[in-house]
Amino acid sequence: MTLTEDRAKSSQVRRLSAPDPVSRTRGSQRFLLVGLSLASVYSLFPVWWLIVAATKDRTGLYQSNGLWFSGWHLWDNLRQLFTYEDGIFLRWTANSFLYAGVGSLGGTLLALATGYGLARFDFPGRNVVFAAVVGSFLIPIALLTLPLYLLFSDIGLVDTPWAMLIPCLINPFSVYLAKVYTEATIPFELLEAARIDGAGELRIFFSIVLRMMTTGGATVFLLAFVNTWNAFFLPLTVLRGEENWTLNLGLYNWSGKRLESGVDLTSLVLTGALLSIVPMAIMMVAMRRYWRSGVTMGALK
Protein backbone atom coordinates (compact mmCIF):
# COMPACT_ATOMS: atom_id res chain seq x y z
CA MET A 1 0.00 0.00 0.00
CA THR A 2 1.36 3.38 -0.95
CA LEU A 3 0.03 4.77 2.25
CA THR A 4 2.05 2.63 4.60
CA GLU A 5 5.12 2.90 2.39
CA ASP A 6 4.90 6.63 2.50
CA ARG A 7 4.51 6.73 6.22
CA ALA A 8 7.22 4.14 6.77
CA LYS A 9 9.71 6.17 4.74
CA SER A 10 9.28 9.15 6.96
CA SER A 11 9.90 7.48 10.29
CA GLN A 12 12.18 4.81 11.61
CA VAL A 13 9.91 4.00 14.50
CA ARG A 14 7.07 3.23 12.19
CA ARG A 15 9.05 0.92 10.01
CA LEU A 16 9.94 -1.15 13.03
CA SER A 17 6.52 -1.28 14.54
CA ALA A 18 3.95 -1.18 11.75
CA PRO A 19 2.30 -4.37 10.69
CA ASP A 20 0.06 -3.60 7.73
CA PRO A 21 -3.14 -2.35 9.35
CA VAL A 22 -5.96 -4.62 8.44
CA SER A 23 -8.48 -1.86 7.85
CA ARG A 24 -6.32 -0.01 5.33
CA THR A 25 -7.59 -1.88 2.35
CA ARG A 26 -7.94 -0.54 -1.16
CA GLY A 27 -11.63 -0.13 -0.39
CA SER A 28 -11.12 2.22 2.51
CA GLN A 29 -8.68 4.30 0.46
CA ARG A 30 -11.32 4.63 -2.22
CA PHE A 31 -13.82 5.68 0.41
CA LEU A 32 -11.47 8.43 1.58
CA LEU A 33 -10.92 9.69 -1.96
CA VAL A 34 -14.64 9.71 -2.71
CA GLY A 35 -15.29 11.76 0.42
CA LEU A 36 -12.59 14.29 -0.41
CA SER A 37 -13.72 14.50 -4.04
CA LEU A 38 -17.32 15.21 -3.07
CA ALA A 39 -16.15 17.97 -0.75
CA SER A 40 -14.00 19.40 -3.56
CA VAL A 41 -16.95 19.43 -5.94
CA TYR A 42 -18.95 21.34 -3.33
CA SER A 43 -16.08 23.80 -2.92
CA LEU A 44 -15.44 24.33 -6.60
CA PHE A 45 -18.76 24.28 -8.43
CA PRO A 46 -19.81 27.83 -7.39
CA VAL A 47 -16.49 29.15 -8.71
CA TRP A 48 -16.92 27.15 -11.90
CA TRP A 49 -20.42 28.55 -12.27
CA LEU A 50 -19.08 32.11 -11.84
CA ILE A 51 -16.42 31.57 -14.51
CA VAL A 52 -18.99 30.15 -16.93
CA ALA A 53 -21.49 32.94 -16.17
CA ALA A 54 -18.90 35.62 -16.93
CA THR A 55 -18.59 34.31 -20.49
CA LYS A 56 -22.30 34.57 -21.28
CA ASP A 57 -24.46 37.35 -22.61
CA ARG A 58 -27.78 38.22 -20.99
CA THR A 59 -29.81 35.68 -22.91
CA GLY A 60 -27.30 32.95 -22.21
CA LEU A 61 -27.22 33.84 -18.53
CA TYR A 62 -30.98 33.56 -18.15
CA GLN A 63 -31.72 30.73 -20.51
CA SER A 64 -28.85 28.29 -20.79
CA ASN A 65 -27.62 25.65 -18.40
CA GLY A 66 -25.70 27.42 -15.65
CA LEU A 67 -22.93 24.88 -15.43
CA TRP A 68 -21.94 24.89 -19.09
CA PHE A 69 -20.87 27.48 -21.67
CA SER A 70 -23.17 28.91 -24.31
CA GLY A 71 -21.55 31.44 -26.62
CA TRP A 72 -18.36 33.33 -25.79
CA HIS A 73 -19.06 36.86 -24.63
CA LEU A 74 -16.35 37.38 -22.03
CA TRP A 75 -14.69 40.20 -24.00
CA ASP A 76 -18.01 42.00 -24.47
CA ASN A 77 -18.74 41.68 -20.78
CA LEU A 78 -15.32 43.02 -19.87
CA ARG A 79 -15.69 45.96 -22.27
CA GLN A 80 -19.09 46.75 -20.76
CA LEU A 81 -17.71 46.42 -17.25
CA PHE A 82 -14.83 48.79 -17.89
CA THR A 83 -16.87 51.40 -19.76
CA TYR A 84 -20.00 51.43 -17.59
CA GLU A 85 -20.42 54.84 -15.93
CA ASP A 86 -17.15 56.15 -17.38
CA GLY A 87 -15.12 53.22 -16.18
CA ILE A 88 -15.99 53.54 -12.48
CA PHE A 89 -15.09 49.88 -12.03
CA LEU A 90 -11.44 50.62 -12.86
CA ARG A 91 -11.50 53.38 -10.30
CA TRP A 92 -12.82 50.98 -7.63
CA THR A 93 -10.15 48.45 -8.56
CA ALA A 94 -7.44 51.08 -8.21
CA ASN A 95 -8.89 52.14 -4.86
CA SER A 96 -8.92 48.58 -3.56
CA PHE A 97 -5.29 48.18 -4.59
CA LEU A 98 -4.39 51.49 -2.98
CA TYR A 99 -6.08 50.76 0.36
CA ALA A 100 -4.98 47.14 0.56
CA GLY A 101 -1.46 47.73 -0.79
CA VAL A 102 -0.37 50.93 0.94
CA GLY A 103 -2.40 50.31 4.09
CA SER A 104 -1.05 46.80 4.56
CA LEU A 105 2.53 47.82 3.81
CA GLY A 106 2.43 50.54 6.47
CA GLY A 107 0.57 48.29 8.89
CA THR A 108 3.07 45.48 8.39
CA LEU A 109 6.07 47.71 9.06
CA LEU A 110 4.46 49.08 12.23
CA ALA A 111 3.47 45.59 13.32
CA LEU A 112 6.98 44.20 12.81
CA ALA A 113 8.52 46.99 14.87
CA THR A 114 5.93 46.50 17.61
CA GLY A 115 6.18 42.72 17.58
CA TYR A 116 9.95 42.95 17.79
CA GLY A 117 9.76 45.43 20.65
CA LEU A 118 7.32 43.21 22.55
CA ALA A 119 9.22 39.98 21.94
CA ARG A 120 12.81 41.07 22.53
CA PHE A 121 12.75 43.86 25.10
CA ASP A 122 11.61 43.78 28.67
CA PHE A 123 10.14 47.20 29.35
CA PRO A 124 7.60 48.19 31.98
CA GLY A 125 4.06 47.96 30.61
CA ARG A 126 4.97 45.39 28.02
CA ASN A 127 2.40 42.92 29.30
CA VAL A 128 -0.28 45.60 29.33
CA VAL A 129 0.38 46.40 25.67
CA PHE A 130 0.29 42.74 24.73
CA ALA A 131 -2.91 42.16 26.70
CA ALA A 132 -4.50 45.10 24.90
CA VAL A 133 -3.47 43.62 21.56
CA VAL A 134 -5.01 40.23 22.33
CA GLY A 135 -8.04 41.72 24.06
CA SER A 136 -8.85 43.83 21.03
CA PHE A 137 -9.60 40.69 19.02
CA LEU A 138 -12.87 40.55 20.91
CA ILE A 139 -14.03 44.09 20.16
CA PRO A 140 -16.92 44.06 17.69
CA ILE A 141 -16.29 46.02 14.54
CA ALA A 142 -19.37 48.18 15.07
CA LEU A 143 -18.08 49.39 18.43
CA LEU A 144 -14.94 50.70 16.71
CA THR A 145 -16.28 51.81 13.37
CA LEU A 146 -19.22 54.00 14.40
CA PRO A 147 -17.30 56.25 16.81
CA LEU A 148 -14.38 56.25 14.37
CA TYR A 149 -16.77 57.56 11.76
CA LEU A 150 -17.81 60.39 14.08
CA LEU A 151 -14.21 61.22 14.97
CA PHE A 152 -13.15 61.13 11.32
CA SER A 153 -16.05 63.31 10.29
CA ASP A 154 -15.05 65.84 12.97
CA ILE A 155 -11.59 66.18 11.46
CA GLY A 156 -12.85 66.03 7.87
CA LEU A 157 -11.44 62.63 6.91
CA VAL A 158 -14.71 60.91 6.05
CA ASP A 159 -15.00 60.23 2.34
CA THR A 160 -11.26 60.54 1.75
CA PRO A 161 -8.82 57.67 1.17
CA TRP A 162 -7.34 58.44 4.62
CA ALA A 163 -10.47 57.09 6.28
CA MET A 164 -9.54 53.67 4.87
CA LEU A 165 -5.76 53.93 5.06
CA ILE A 166 -5.36 55.10 8.66
CA PRO A 167 -7.29 52.22 10.29
CA CYS A 168 -5.18 49.75 8.25
CA LEU A 169 -2.02 51.02 9.90
CA ILE A 170 -3.05 49.71 13.29
CA ASN A 171 -3.67 45.99 13.11
CA PRO A 172 -3.47 44.09 16.42
CA PHE A 173 -3.59 40.70 14.73
CA SER A 174 -0.52 41.63 12.64
CA VAL A 175 1.28 42.68 15.83
CA TYR A 176 0.40 39.37 17.43
CA LEU A 177 1.74 37.44 14.43
CA ALA A 178 4.87 39.59 14.26
CA LYS A 179 5.59 38.86 17.92
CA VAL A 180 5.18 35.13 17.37
CA TYR A 181 7.48 35.26 14.33
CA THR A 182 10.11 37.30 16.16
CA GLU A 183 10.17 34.78 18.98
CA ALA A 184 10.69 31.99 16.43
CA THR A 185 13.37 33.63 14.29
CA ILE A 186 15.40 36.27 16.15
CA PRO A 187 17.74 34.84 18.79
CA PHE A 188 18.77 37.04 21.74
CA GLU A 189 22.42 36.07 21.18
CA LEU A 190 22.40 37.59 17.71
CA LEU A 191 21.12 40.91 19.03
CA GLU A 192 23.74 40.92 21.76
CA ALA A 193 26.52 40.17 19.28
CA ALA A 194 25.36 43.07 17.10
CA ARG A 195 25.30 45.38 20.13
CA ILE A 196 28.81 44.35 21.13
CA ASP A 197 29.91 45.17 17.58
CA GLY A 198 28.55 48.64 18.20
CA ALA A 199 25.41 48.63 16.05
CA GLY A 200 22.63 51.00 17.14
CA GLU A 201 19.15 49.67 17.90
CA LEU A 202 17.57 51.20 14.80
CA ARG A 203 20.32 49.83 12.61
CA ILE A 204 19.90 46.38 14.16
CA PHE A 205 16.17 46.51 13.44
CA PHE A 206 16.41 47.71 9.87
CA SER A 207 19.41 45.76 8.65
CA ILE A 208 19.24 42.57 10.69
CA VAL A 209 15.78 41.97 12.15
CA LEU A 210 13.73 43.08 9.13
CA ARG A 211 15.91 41.05 6.82
CA MET A 212 15.57 37.91 8.92
CA MET A 213 11.82 38.45 9.18
CA THR A 214 11.16 38.43 5.43
CA THR A 215 9.03 35.30 5.61
CA GLY A 216 7.10 36.42 8.66
CA GLY A 217 6.70 39.90 7.23
CA ALA A 218 5.40 38.50 3.94
CA THR A 219 2.76 36.48 5.81
CA VAL A 220 1.70 39.45 7.90
CA PHE A 221 1.45 41.59 4.76
CA LEU A 222 -0.47 38.95 2.84
CA LEU A 223 -3.05 38.42 5.57
CA ALA A 224 -3.47 42.18 6.07
CA PHE A 225 -3.85 42.67 2.31
CA VAL A 226 -6.53 39.98 2.09
CA ASN A 227 -8.33 41.47 5.10
CA THR A 228 -8.41 44.95 3.63
CA TRP A 229 -9.34 43.70 0.17
CA ASN A 230 -12.26 41.83 1.76
CA ALA A 231 -13.31 44.63 4.12
CA PHE A 232 -16.92 45.71 3.84
CA PHE A 233 -18.28 47.31 7.00
CA LEU A 234 -15.54 49.93 7.35
CA PRO A 235 -15.68 51.20 3.74
CA LEU A 236 -19.49 51.11 3.83
CA THR A 237 -19.40 53.34 6.89
CA VAL A 238 -16.64 55.84 6.09
CA LEU A 239 -16.87 56.14 2.30
CA ARG A 240 -19.91 57.89 0.87
CA GLY A 241 -18.95 59.09 -2.61
CA GLU A 242 -18.67 56.53 -5.41
CA GLU A 243 -15.25 57.69 -6.49
CA ASN A 244 -13.59 56.46 -3.29
CA TRP A 245 -15.38 53.13 -3.06
CA THR A 246 -13.73 49.73 -3.00
CA LEU A 247 -14.58 46.88 -5.36
CA ASN A 248 -16.71 45.25 -2.69
CA LEU A 249 -18.74 48.36 -2.11
CA GLY A 250 -19.25 48.91 -5.82
CA LEU A 251 -20.38 45.34 -6.40
CA TYR A 252 -22.73 45.55 -3.39
CA ASN A 253 -24.26 48.69 -4.80
CA TRP A 254 -24.66 47.21 -8.28
CA SER A 255 -26.26 44.09 -6.91
CA GLY A 256 -28.88 46.24 -5.19
CA LYS A 257 -29.71 48.32 -8.27
CA ARG A 258 -32.16 45.84 -9.68
CA LEU A 259 -34.48 46.21 -6.73
CA GLU A 260 -33.85 49.87 -6.21
CA SER A 261 -34.22 51.18 -9.76
CA GLY A 262 -35.03 48.18 -11.88
CA VAL A 263 -31.67 48.19 -13.67
CA ASP A 264 -30.44 44.64 -14.00
CA LEU A 265 -26.66 44.62 -13.73
CA THR A 266 -26.36 40.89 -12.99
CA SER A 267 -24.01 40.34 -15.89
CA LEU A 268 -21.71 43.20 -14.82
CA VAL A 269 -21.82 42.14 -11.17
CA LEU A 270 -20.79 38.59 -12.04
CA THR A 271 -17.96 39.61 -14.38
CA GLY A 272 -16.78 42.14 -11.78
CA ALA A 273 -16.99 39.54 -9.03
CA LEU A 274 -14.82 37.18 -11.05
CA LEU A 275 -12.25 39.91 -11.69
CA SER A 276 -12.11 40.85 -8.02
CA ILE A 277 -11.08 37.29 -7.16
CA VAL A 278 -8.16 37.31 -9.61
CA PRO A 279 -5.70 39.37 -7.51
CA MET A 280 -6.57 37.25 -4.46
CA ALA A 281 -5.95 34.04 -6.37
CA ILE A 282 -2.64 35.28 -7.78
CA MET A 283 -1.41 36.40 -4.37
CA MET A 284 -2.53 33.26 -2.61
CA VAL A 285 -0.89 30.97 -5.15
CA ALA A 286 2.30 33.01 -5.40
CA MET A 287 2.68 33.12 -1.63
CA ARG A 288 1.18 29.75 -0.78
CA ARG A 289 4.15 28.74 1.32
CA TYR A 290 3.88 31.84 3.50
CA TRP A 291 0.22 32.11 4.09
CA ARG A 292 -0.35 28.51 4.97
CA SER A 293 2.16 28.76 7.80
CA GLY A 294 0.67 32.13 8.71
CA VAL A 295 -2.88 30.87 8.94
CA THR A 296 -1.99 27.94 11.12
CA MET A 297 0.65 29.65 13.19
CA GLY A 298 -1.57 32.58 14.00
CA ALA A 299 -4.34 30.25 14.96
CA LEU A 300 -2.47 27.71 17.02
CA LYS A 301 0.20 29.56 18.96
Binding site: P19, S43, T114, W229, L251
Partner: protein, 294 residues
Protein backbone atom coordinates in the same frame (compact mmCIF):
# COMPACT_ATOMS: atom_id res chain seq x y z
CA UNK B 1 18.24 44.32 30.90
CA UNK B 2 20.02 47.67 30.83
CA UNK B 3 17.70 50.53 31.62
CA UNK B 4 18.38 52.54 28.45
CA UNK B 5 17.93 49.44 26.33
CA UNK B 6 14.51 48.86 27.84
CA UNK B 7 13.35 52.28 26.74
CA UNK B 8 14.81 51.85 23.29
CA UNK B 9 12.85 48.62 23.04
CA UNK B 10 9.71 50.35 24.23
CA UNK B 11 10.29 53.00 21.56
CA UNK B 12 9.73 50.39 18.84
CA UNK B 13 6.19 49.95 20.08
CA UNK B 14 5.38 53.64 20.56
CA UNK B 15 3.98 54.38 17.06
CA UNK B 16 1.63 51.43 17.39
CA UNK B 17 0.63 52.40 20.90
CA UNK B 18 -0.23 55.93 19.79
CA UNK B 19 -2.25 54.56 16.88
CA UNK B 20 -3.93 52.06 19.17
CA UNK B 21 -5.00 54.84 21.52
CA UNK B 22 -6.33 56.91 18.63
CA UNK B 23 -8.05 54.09 16.72
CA UNK B 24 -9.16 51.76 19.52
CA UNK B 25 -9.23 53.28 22.99
CA UNK B 26 -10.46 56.72 21.99
CA UNK B 27 -13.34 55.38 19.83
CA UNK B 28 -14.41 52.94 22.54
CA UNK B 29 -14.29 55.69 25.15
CA UNK B 30 -16.19 57.97 22.81
CA UNK B 31 -18.82 55.31 22.18
CA UNK B 32 -19.31 54.72 25.91
CA UNK B 33 -19.54 58.48 26.47
CA UNK B 34 -22.01 58.94 23.61
CA UNK B 35 -24.12 56.08 24.88
CA UNK B 36 -24.85 58.04 28.05
CA UNK B 37 -26.54 60.93 26.23
CA UNK B 38 -29.61 61.44 24.15
CA UNK B 39 -30.84 64.07 21.75
CA UNK B 40 -33.67 66.14 23.11
CA UNK B 41 -35.83 67.92 20.59
CA UNK B 42 -36.94 71.28 21.89
CA UNK B 43 -40.40 72.54 21.15
CA UNK B 44 -41.95 70.73 18.20
CA UNK B 45 -38.59 69.70 16.85
CA UNK B 46 -38.30 72.95 14.93
CA UNK B 47 -36.26 74.81 17.51
CA UNK B 48 -33.17 72.64 17.06
CA UNK B 49 -32.06 69.96 19.44
CA UNK B 50 -29.83 69.65 22.45
CA UNK B 51 -27.92 66.76 23.94
CA UNK B 52 -28.77 65.86 27.45
CA UNK B 53 -27.37 63.33 29.88
CA UNK B 54 -29.43 60.16 29.86
CA UNK B 55 -27.49 57.92 32.24
CA UNK B 56 -28.16 54.30 31.49
CA UNK B 57 -31.48 54.92 29.77
CA UNK B 58 -30.14 53.93 26.36
CA UNK B 59 -28.93 50.63 27.79
CA UNK B 60 -32.24 49.97 29.48
CA UNK B 61 -33.96 50.69 26.20
CA UNK B 62 -31.57 48.35 24.38
CA UNK B 63 -32.13 45.49 26.81
CA UNK B 64 -35.88 45.79 26.41
CA UNK B 65 -35.76 46.45 22.66
CA UNK B 66 -37.44 43.38 21.24
CA UNK B 67 -35.98 44.00 17.77
CA UNK B 68 -32.42 44.11 19.12
CA UNK B 69 -32.72 41.26 21.60
CA UNK B 70 -34.62 39.30 18.96
CA UNK B 71 -31.78 39.76 16.49
CA UNK B 72 -29.25 38.61 19.10
CA UNK B 73 -31.35 35.54 19.83
CA UNK B 74 -31.78 34.85 16.12
CA UNK B 75 -28.05 34.96 15.52
CA UNK B 76 -27.27 32.87 18.61
CA UNK B 77 -29.76 30.17 17.63
CA UNK B 78 -28.37 30.17 14.13
CA UNK B 79 -24.82 29.89 15.49
CA UNK B 80 -25.87 26.86 17.56
CA UNK B 81 -26.75 25.05 14.33
CA UNK B 82 -24.34 26.37 11.72
CA UNK B 83 -21.09 26.32 13.72
CA UNK B 84 -21.31 22.67 14.86
CA UNK B 85 -22.26 21.58 11.34
CA UNK B 86 -19.39 23.51 9.79
CA UNK B 87 -16.86 22.30 12.36
CA UNK B 88 -18.04 18.72 12.07
CA UNK B 89 -17.55 18.78 8.29
CA UNK B 90 -14.15 20.46 8.73
CA UNK B 91 -13.13 17.84 11.29
CA UNK B 92 -14.21 14.95 9.08
CA UNK B 93 -12.33 16.43 6.12
CA UNK B 94 -9.22 16.97 8.25
CA UNK B 95 -9.40 13.34 9.39
CA UNK B 96 -9.80 12.21 5.77
CA UNK B 97 -6.80 14.31 4.72
CA UNK B 98 -4.79 12.86 7.58
CA UNK B 99 -5.55 9.34 6.40
CA UNK B 100 -4.42 9.69 2.77
CA UNK B 101 -0.84 10.07 1.54
CA UNK B 102 0.68 13.51 1.96
CA UNK B 103 0.85 13.99 -1.82
CA UNK B 104 -2.87 13.40 -2.21
CA UNK B 105 -3.58 15.46 0.90
CA UNK B 106 -1.77 18.55 -0.38
CA UNK B 107 -3.74 18.46 -3.66
CA UNK B 108 -7.10 18.22 -1.95
CA UNK B 109 -6.16 20.78 0.65
CA UNK B 110 -5.62 23.42 -2.03
CA UNK B 111 -8.92 22.57 -3.75
CA UNK B 112 -10.84 22.75 -0.48
CA UNK B 113 -9.28 26.10 0.35
CA UNK B 114 -10.48 27.78 -2.85
CA UNK B 115 -13.66 29.24 -1.23
CA UNK B 116 -11.58 30.77 1.55
CA UNK B 117 -9.68 32.81 -1.06
CA UNK B 118 -12.88 34.46 -2.21
CA UNK B 119 -13.90 37.75 -0.59
CA UNK B 120 -17.03 37.43 1.57
CA UNK B 121 -19.00 39.91 -0.52
CA UNK B 122 -18.16 38.04 -3.72
CA UNK B 123 -19.01 34.70 -2.10
CA UNK B 124 -22.41 36.09 -1.13
CA UNK B 125 -22.96 37.45 -4.65
CA UNK B 126 -22.11 34.07 -6.19
CA UNK B 127 -24.48 32.14 -3.92
CA UNK B 128 -27.24 34.73 -4.29
CA UNK B 129 -27.12 34.05 -8.01
CA UNK B 130 -26.88 30.29 -7.56
CA UNK B 131 -30.01 30.49 -5.41
CA UNK B 132 -31.75 32.86 -7.79
CA UNK B 133 -34.74 31.33 -9.58
CA UNK B 134 -33.84 33.32 -12.73
CA UNK B 135 -30.17 32.62 -13.33
CA UNK B 136 -29.17 29.97 -10.77
CA UNK B 137 -28.79 26.29 -11.61
CA UNK B 138 -30.15 25.11 -8.24
CA UNK B 139 -33.83 25.79 -8.92
CA UNK B 140 -33.98 23.78 -12.19
CA UNK B 141 -31.86 21.10 -10.53
CA UNK B 142 -34.39 20.86 -7.72
CA UNK B 143 -37.23 20.54 -10.22
CA UNK B 144 -35.56 17.50 -11.76
CA UNK B 145 -35.73 15.79 -8.38
CA UNK B 146 -39.22 17.06 -7.72
CA UNK B 147 -38.31 19.81 -5.24
CA UNK B 148 -39.75 23.27 -5.56
CA UNK B 149 -37.07 25.22 -3.75
CA UNK B 150 -37.35 28.85 -2.90
CA UNK B 151 -34.06 29.77 -1.26
CA UNK B 152 -35.31 33.21 -0.28
CA UNK B 153 -38.47 32.09 1.51
CA UNK B 154 -38.61 33.13 5.19
CA UNK B 155 -38.05 29.57 6.38
CA UNK B 156 -35.18 29.02 3.95
CA UNK B 157 -33.19 32.19 4.30
CA UNK B 158 -31.12 31.05 7.30
CA UNK B 159 -30.34 27.66 5.77
CA UNK B 160 -29.36 29.53 2.60
CA UNK B 161 -27.03 31.86 4.50
CA UNK B 162 -25.80 28.93 6.60
CA UNK B 163 -24.82 27.00 3.51
CA UNK B 164 -22.96 30.05 2.21
CA UNK B 165 -21.06 30.44 5.49
CA UNK B 166 -20.29 26.74 5.68
CA UNK B 167 -19.04 26.70 2.09
CA UNK B 168 -16.86 29.71 2.82
CA UNK B 169 -15.52 28.47 6.14
CA UNK B 170 -14.81 24.76 5.97
CA UNK B 171 -11.45 25.13 4.18
CA UNK B 172 -9.97 27.46 6.77
CA UNK B 173 -11.23 25.46 9.74
CA UNK B 174 -10.10 22.23 8.12
CA UNK B 175 -6.55 23.56 7.69
CA UNK B 176 -6.33 24.54 11.34
CA UNK B 177 -7.65 21.19 12.57
CA UNK B 178 -5.47 19.34 10.06
CA UNK B 179 -2.30 21.03 11.21
CA UNK B 180 -3.18 20.22 14.80
CA UNK B 181 -3.57 16.58 13.71
CA UNK B 182 -0.17 16.67 12.05
CA UNK B 183 1.29 17.65 15.40
CA UNK B 184 0.14 14.43 17.07
CA UNK B 185 3.06 12.01 17.51
CA UNK B 186 2.58 9.23 14.94
CA UNK B 187 3.85 6.60 17.37
CA UNK B 188 0.65 7.04 19.30
CA UNK B 189 -1.42 5.75 16.37
CA UNK B 190 0.93 2.84 15.82
CA UNK B 191 0.70 1.91 19.47
CA UNK B 192 -3.08 1.98 19.25
CA UNK B 193 -2.98 -0.15 16.09
CA UNK B 194 -0.74 -2.69 17.78
CA UNK B 195 -3.28 -2.85 20.56
CA UNK B 196 -5.80 -3.80 17.90
CA UNK B 197 -7.73 -0.55 17.59
CA UNK B 198 -9.53 0.04 14.29
CA UNK B 199 -8.89 3.19 12.25
CA UNK B 200 -12.31 4.51 13.17
CA UNK B 201 -11.65 3.87 16.82
CA UNK B 202 -8.26 5.63 16.59
CA UNK B 203 -9.88 8.64 14.95
CA UNK B 204 -12.52 8.84 17.68
CA UNK B 205 -10.44 8.07 20.77
CA UNK B 206 -6.97 9.31 19.87
CA UNK B 207 -7.12 11.89 17.11
CA UNK B 208 -10.21 13.87 18.08
CA UNK B 209 -9.19 14.41 21.72
CA UNK B 210 -5.85 15.69 20.42
CA UNK B 211 -7.41 18.34 18.21
CA UNK B 212 -9.75 19.54 20.91
CA UNK B 213 -7.76 22.74 21.31
CA UNK B 214 -8.04 23.50 17.61
CA UNK B 215 -11.79 22.84 17.74
CA UNK B 216 -12.24 25.16 20.70
CA UNK B 217 -10.29 27.84 18.88
CA UNK B 218 -12.14 27.54 15.58
CA UNK B 219 -15.42 27.45 17.52
CA UNK B 220 -14.51 30.61 19.39
CA UNK B 221 -13.49 32.45 16.21
CA UNK B 222 -16.72 31.35 14.53
CA UNK B 223 -18.86 32.59 17.44
CA UNK B 224 -17.14 35.98 17.38
CA UNK B 225 -17.73 36.25 13.65
CA UNK B 226 -21.28 35.02 13.82
CA UNK B 227 -22.44 37.52 16.44
CA UNK B 228 -21.16 40.23 14.13
CA UNK B 229 -22.61 38.85 10.92
CA UNK B 230 -23.41 41.67 8.51
CA UNK B 231 -22.13 41.23 4.93
CA UNK B 232 -24.17 38.20 3.99
CA UNK B 233 -27.56 39.37 5.26
CA UNK B 234 -26.88 42.85 3.83
CA UNK B 235 -26.39 41.33 0.39
CA UNK B 236 -29.40 39.05 0.78
CA UNK B 237 -31.39 42.13 1.66
CA UNK B 238 -30.48 43.55 -1.75
CA UNK B 239 -32.38 40.70 -3.33
CA UNK B 240 -35.13 39.89 -0.88
CA UNK B 241 -35.82 42.80 1.50
CA UNK B 242 -39.18 41.33 2.53
CA UNK B 243 -37.51 38.32 4.13
CA UNK B 244 -34.26 39.87 5.37
CA UNK B 245 -35.47 42.89 7.30
CA UNK B 246 -33.19 45.75 8.21
CA UNK B 247 -33.18 44.49 11.79
CA UNK B 248 -32.13 40.97 10.89
CA UNK B 249 -28.83 40.92 12.81
CA UNK B 250 -27.49 43.05 15.69
CA UNK B 251 -24.97 44.93 13.54
CA UNK B 252 -27.62 45.70 10.94
CA UNK B 253 -29.74 47.31 13.66
CA UNK B 254 -26.77 49.29 14.94
CA UNK B 255 -25.92 50.46 11.43
CA UNK B 256 -29.49 51.51 10.76
CA UNK B 257 -29.85 53.31 14.08
CA UNK B 258 -26.68 55.26 13.35
CA UNK B 259 -27.04 56.07 9.67
CA UNK B 260 -30.70 55.83 8.77
CA UNK B 261 -32.36 56.91 12.00
CA UNK B 262 -29.49 59.26 12.89
CA UNK B 263 -29.61 57.95 16.45
CA UNK B 264 -25.91 57.72 17.29
CA UNK B 265 -26.41 57.66 21.02
CA UNK B 266 -28.64 54.64 20.92
CA UNK B 267 -26.42 52.96 18.31
CA UNK B 268 -23.42 53.52 20.58
CA UNK B 269 -25.25 51.93 23.53
CA UNK B 270 -26.23 48.95 21.37
CA UNK B 271 -22.64 48.45 20.19
CA UNK B 272 -21.39 48.49 23.78
CA UNK B 273 -24.10 45.95 24.64
CA UNK B 274 -23.05 43.78 21.71
CA UNK B 275 -19.42 43.93 22.88
CA UNK B 276 -20.51 42.78 26.35
CA UNK B 277 -22.61 39.96 24.89
CA UNK B 278 -19.65 38.92 22.75
CA UNK B 279 -17.34 38.91 25.76
CA UNK B 280 -19.76 36.86 27.84
CA UNK B 281 -20.41 34.40 25.01
CA UNK B 282 -16.69 33.85 24.38
CA UNK B 283 -16.01 33.45 28.09
CA UNK B 284 -18.84 30.94 28.57
CA UNK B 285 -17.81 28.99 25.50
CA UNK B 286 -14.22 28.87 26.65
CA UNK B 287 -15.17 27.80 30.17
CA UNK B 288 -17.61 25.22 28.91
CA UNK B 289 -15.22 23.64 26.42
CA UNK B 290 -12.03 23.69 28.47
CA UNK B 291 -13.63 22.43 31.68
CA UNK B 292 -13.96 18.89 30.45
CA UNK B 293 -10.40 18.93 29.18
CA UNK B 294 -8.79 19.02 32.59
Amino acid sequence: MIRSLRWKGAAFTVPFQLGFVFLYLLPIGYAVYQSLFRVQQSGLGLGGSTEEFAGLDNYQQGLTDSAFMGSVLRVVLFACVQIPVMLLISLVLALLLDAVTSRVASRFRILLLVPYMIPGVVAAIVWLNLYSPDVGPLTPLGKIFGFDWNFFAPSMVWPSIGNLLTWHGIGYNMVIIYSALQGVPRELFEAARLDGASERRIALSVKIPFVRGALVLTGMLSIIQMLQIFNEPALFRNVTPQTVSDSFTPIMIIYNQAFNAGNYHYAAALSVLLALILGVASFLFYRFTSKEAD
